[in-house]
């Protein structure tokens, strides 16, 4: 197959960053007939998601959950002696997963005849970037259109900057260099909690410190509450409404001084993992040489076609703000690519689901109760407790519920929140339902297989309609 002719003088479309947003945009643009140049500092596509984020964490979480499940199998008549944890082997396996997936992406890049350039790019004006190949020379590339997909980097806290040793960011933590005896996780958001879960599974005694008054700020409290039940067993200490005031690096330990609501106290740890959020990564991009504008938080401003203030330059994914999620980046990637290819479409996704991959998993999409209150939006809420689910019982699952938020006038599904095993795999049905404008009746009348966890979605809809299949009917409709 003859390689597509590359215009040496002007690139039709360059995509800077080959993470989920970037590679998705590149693949889509190529499918639509554009000549794409994809630039990334890694040898293969994947970005933070594959190398340092989504994939490695989910791989490790799976391993740890597997161990936890095995250890808890005794009531079912299966018991194990204490498992042997070969952390180095686990790390190698995890790396294997990463390699397999990034390899696959590299293959797709070739298959779609996308020009992949390993290195960095920096804008010199609205139509030119200087590309610096990894360990090589610089070339000037002019382009007709560009998509910025450079993602975000972890925020550093003063006094808690990763030092390559005992204070880790999530990237270092995923290398599994060792299993600290006592680990402090700074940040009670989903990244902090997932990392905490992993390390607890590996054998560390984990404590968490969080600035707000609960885990996962912004997430509906009832979902978090369900998680909290198991969290108590997970953590040695949970410090809420507390900040880290000071860290003293002693020879054998880290002495952390906390400032809580009412008191100041100190504790010692072997390692600290910092997961307090991310900021957009474009410092080295040279945006100041372009007309591209950013907002107060530094995210690149875009419109509903992912265009920046320079209309032929797009920005997608984490660097453009919004929920910092890979699937959101992927969707924006395809929107930007389609627009760049000339389609008159826009980003009109109504639902961006979110999943926290702890055990129990938490998943939600659409309207949240927190969001509804902010907007003054009315809704009716129904819950189906997994204690009434045949499948959950057969899986010996003790926790979980499926919650639906429904518009009382039209009966349409507005939002959903699910806590429990594999909640993340159950939420997509609701995402589709909301996008399609499905009503509770639509969901209730769609036959869901029995016995499954997905059935709980149908059951929740039936609760709303007043004729639940597996719980007592309390409504007088």
């Amino acid at each position: 197959m003859a390689k597509k002719e590359q215009h040496k003088d002007k690139k039709e479309l360059i995509v800077i960053g080959a993470g989920p947003g970037g590679y998705r945009a590149a693949f889509m643009a190529a499918d639509l007939g554009m000549e794409v140049t994809l630039i990334d500092k890694e040898e293969k596509p994947g970005g933070e998601c594959l190398y340092r984020g989504c994939i490695p964490t989910k791989a490790l979480l799976h391993a740890v959950k597997l161990k936890d499940a095995a250890v808890a199998a005794d009531p079912m008549g299966i018991s194990f002696s204490d498992p042997d944890m070969d952390v180095a082997k686990m790390a190698r396996w995890k790396q294997g997963v990463i390699d397999k997936l990034t390899g696959g992406l590299a293959g797709i890049v070739k298959g779609r005849e996308i020009e992949y350039l390993q290195g960095t790019a920096k804008f010199s004006n609205d139509n030119t970037v200087v590309f610096e190949a990894t360990g090589g020379k610089s070339t000037e590339l002019t382009f007709e259109q560009a998509i910025i997909a450079t993602g975000a980097t972890p925020l550093a806290l003063e006094g808690l900057e990763p030092d390559g040793e005992r204070i880790m960011g999530s990237e270092a933590a995923l290398e599994l260099k060792d299993v600290p005896k006592k680990l402090l996780v700074v940040g009670g958001g989903y990244i902090g909690l997932e990392m905490a879960y992993i390390y607890h599974g590996l054998g560390s005694a984990v404590s968490v410190v969080e600035l707000t008054d609960g885990f996962m700020p912004g997430t509906d409290r009832d979902l978090v509450k369900e998680f909290n039940r198991s969290a108590k067993a997970l953590f040695e200490d949970i410090f809420l409404e507390t900040r880290v005031k000071e860290v003293k690096k002693n020879k054998t330990s880290l002495r952390v001084t906390f400032e809580g609501k009412d008191e100041t106290f100190s504790k010692s740890y072997d390692r600290i993992l910092v997961a307090v959020g991310e900021k957009p990564d474009h410092a080295a991009l040279g945006l100041e040489a372009t007309g591209v504008e950013t907002d107060e938080a530094g995210f690149i401003r875009v419109n509903d076609q992912q265009r920046t203030s320079v209309s032929h330059i797009y920005a997608i994914g984490d660097v453009a703000g919004g929920p910092l999620l890979a699937h959101k980046a992927m969707y924006e990637g395809r929107v930007a690519a389609e627009v760049a290819a000339g389609k008159d479409i826009a980003n009109d996704a109504r639902v961006i689901p979110g999943v926290v991959y702890t055990e129990p998993e938490i998943a939600f999409c659409g309207l949240t109760e927190t969001g509804a209150k902010e907007q003054g939006r009315s809704y009716e809420r129904v819950k189906f407790p997994w204690a009434a689910s045949g499948r959950a019982a057969a899986m010996n699952e003790k926790h979980g519920f499926t919650k639906l938020l429904i518009d009382p006038e039209s009966d349409r599904i507005l939002g959903a929140g699910i806590v429990g095993k594999d909640a993340g795999d159950l939420i997509s049905e609701l995402a589709l339902a909301i996008e399609m404008g499905a009503t509770a009746t639509d969901v209730a009348l769609t036959i869901h297989p029995h016995p499954t966890l997905s059935e709980t979605v149908m059951e929740a809809a039936e609760v709303y309609l007043g004729t639940p299949g597996h719980t007592m009917n309390k409504k007088k409709r």
Partner: protein, 538 residues
């Protein structure tokens, strides 16, 4: 907080209407029940009142927009935190009674509620409420403060509406600037296509780039329209505004067929698209195309001969124009003329008019004719019918409602007297006065203008010897009354003249349903009864 004003149920069997005059402007203070917009239906023009006190925050419609019952037309900023809806949650217990859940409130925007905890639960009539378990760290309903530093990815707020950064908002109408870019796309060779596409893509179509701070409510309104992603794309490609499409799917879901239909409606002659008129850069003046659409006569440029002034047609005028045009175009009408000797009727009138006035009515020729017409419609049932062209049947009505044409300063209004056959003359005379007054005071409701089987139009008070009224669809006949005059009448058989009061009557009828002989018979019968009420007994 912001509240929505929606189109209420205007009248029975009325689902849609057209926005007439928008009475208020953004920023105006309004009181509860103050009219904010005029909506025209086929029957009448109605004022829609504001259900709240407040300030007009946003007006979502334009004059001429088609709206349906339930459509949001305005947003009012209402002071205070009153909750329109309280929402309740059913606690579902499993059969073992294990209490898994807590009952929580979803009071809108009411922060105090959460502190009341379990005790503050409110009941919805449909759902039972179980008491909330107080667990430590119960943060139910509290807003989460986002630390300024924690520019969050930890924030799992999946509510798109809040967290799409500074992405420019979808405005409620979802309209795009630069729609003309679509017109630039041409179906040429691939290379040229790409070049054009590239140019277009680079030229920046799509929503105007701005600071992206639309109101959450505006977004909510747009996103509230149920339409699948594929349908949304289709709408955008077709240049159809989702807010203007009536969904035919369950739950008012907009289907792809709805989009196709909306597109065809817009493109077809006779279709109206205000935005199309404004935004299409086709070079044809919109006035010309509007005229062509309605098959109307194109107006010349009057300024050639002198000055002109433009005056807006009010809603009544517009409705009348529409109705009369439809009648004229669709109903083959014939007018039958006759005269009645109402000397005796007039004597009767003079004798009893004071009695009637005491009862609050006015004994007029119209009132008398209403009663006689009611008898006539019973005797000649085909005049009390409507023609159903869809299956070539006559809808024979088993009731008798008759309308009377009233001249008001707004125009011609036809209130209907229901069950004219069942009411005595006194009651009819009172009702006639009352309805006419209501019509002139502009207080008549659409219900009072509907349901007529037959109409009487009396212009005698003004003068004239006769006229040809136009049948008011879906009726099949109408009686016109001109001025009674004293005439010299030759008394047959006596060879002499007498002065008689003679009333000219004209009956226009739908010739698809009524033939000349029927028309003549009907009108003659009325005249006979006027001349000799004993004819009623025959």
């Amino acid at each position: 907080m912001k509240k929505e004003i929606k189109i209420p149920d205007i009248a029975e069997n009325v689902d849609t209407g057209v926005i007439g005059r928008i009475i208020v402007s953004k920023g105006d203070e309004v009181k509860k029940d103050q009219p904010v917009v005029e909506v025209e239906t086929d029957k009448a023009a109605t004022d829609i009142p504001s259900p709240f006190d407040g300030t007009i925050d946003e007006i979502m419609v334009d004059e001429g927009d088609e709206v349906s019952v339930g459509d949001v037309i305005m947003i009012v900023e209402v002071a205070g935190e009153e909750d329109a809806d309280k929402d309740e949650h059913a606690e579902e217990q499993d059969e073992q009674g294990a209490d898994e859940e807590q009952e929580e409130h979803a009071a809108e925007g009411d922060q105090e509620q959460e502190n009341k905890g379990a005790a503050g639960d409110e009941e919805d009539e449909d759902r039972e409420v179980d008491k909330a378990e107080d667990e430590e760290g119960d943060e139910e309903g509290k807003e989460q403060d986002k630390d300024a530093e924690a520019v969050e990815d930890d924030d799992e707020d999946e509510d798109d509406e809040d967290s799409k950064g500074d992405e420019d908002e979808k405005d409620a109408k979802g309209d795009e600037d630069g729609k003309d870019a679509k017109g630039d796309e041409d179906k040429k060779k691939k290379a040229k296509e790409k070049e054009d596409a590239g140019k277009k893509a680079a030229s920046g179509s799509g929503e105007a780039y701005g600071d992206g701070k639309g109101t959450a409510l505006k977004r909510a309104a747009a996103e509230d329209i149920p339409a699948a992603p594929s349908v949304r794309r289709m709408a955008r490609e077709a240049g159809v505004d989702l807010a203007e499409v009536r969904g035919s799917g369950p739950g008012n879901r907009i289907t792809s067929e709805d989009i196709t239909a909306a597109k065809e409606r817009r493109e077809a002659p006779g279709g109206e698209d205000k935005k199309e008129k404004e935004k299409k850069a086709t070079g044809k003046p919109s006035k010309e195309s509007a005229a062509a659409r309605e098959g109307a006569i194109e107006l010349p440029d009057f300024s050639q001969w002198g000055d002109t002034k433009k005056e807006r047609m009010n809603t009544v005028r517009r409705i009348t124009a529409r109705t009369m045009t439809a009648s004229w175009q669709q109903i083959p009408q014939v007018t039958q003329f006759d005269e009645a000797d109402i000397t005796q009727t007039e004597a009767f009138r003079q004798k009893h008019k004071d009695d009637f006035e005491k009862q609050g009515g006015k004994l007029t020729v119209t009132a008398i004719l209403l009663k006689i017409a009611a008898f006539a419609l019973q005797k000649f049932p085909r005049f009390n019918a409507s023609l159903d062209t869809s299956d070539n049947t006559l809808v024979m009505k088993q009731y008798i409602n008759i309308g009377i044409a009233v001249d008001t300063d707004k125009g011609l209004i036809v209130p209907v007297i229901r069950d004219t056959d069942k009411k005595p003359l006194a009651e009819i005379s009172v009702e006639t006065v009352a309805l006419a007054e209501k019509a002139r005071e502009n207080e008549i409701s659409p219900d009072e203008l509907q349901g007529g089987n037959f109409t009487i139009s009396n212009l005698g008070g003004i003068g004239g010897t006769g006229f040809t009224p136009i049948v008011y669809p879906p009726q099949v006949a109408i009686l016109g009354v001109a001025r009674a005059t004293q005439k010299q009448v030759l008394i047959e058989g006596e060879g002499r003249f007498k002065h008689r009061l003679v009333l000219p009557l004209s009956l226009t009828y739908d010739h698809r349903v009524i033939d000349g002989a029927d028309g003549a018979r009907f009108l003659r019968w009325i005249c006979d009864v006027l001349e000799d009420p004993y004819a009623l007994l025959q």
